[in-house]
Symmetry: C2
Subunit: 80 residues, 2 copies
């Protein structure tokens, strides 16, 4: 089973990497960009009996390791 | 308009960050994980006349800045 986890900074948390990308895009002539946010995408291959069990397990992983829940949010998508 | 760009290492390219996460998950007792790949997710707010125009513009951004196409692939999703 495949789990796709997106980890992104919470609204209101400053994103210096996004700011840097935004600035670089502007310097390259892409002037229609209004905002950039950079996050992580983590793709896990896991063994699980059901999609529900997989989601529960991956949620635990997010809480303990994959995301810093003080400043980051995450979303989980399970694919067969 | 919102563009969601996922940038990930090509198949066969070594992913040390993924390996480190895999190892750390194992050390935390998550033993059902078979493989981990870590990529980037870049979310852009852009002005564009149409979704097609936005996609074309973002594709150019990927080729010039957002992805290193020697070792990385990318996918683009445009959301209204």
């Amino acid at each position: 089973m495949k789990a796709i986890v997106n980890v992104y900074l919470k609204e209101g948390v400053l994103d210096p990497q996004g700011k840097a990308v935004h600035h670089a895009l502007g310097a390259l002539g892409f002037e229609d960009v209004e905002n950039v946010r950079v996050g992580k995408q983590i793709v896990l291959d896991i063994k699980a009996d059901s999609m529900k069990a997989a989601e529960k397990e991956v949620e635990k992983m997010c809480e303990t390791l994959l995301a810093n829940t003080v400043i980051e949010d995450y979303s989980i998508e399970i694919v067969q």
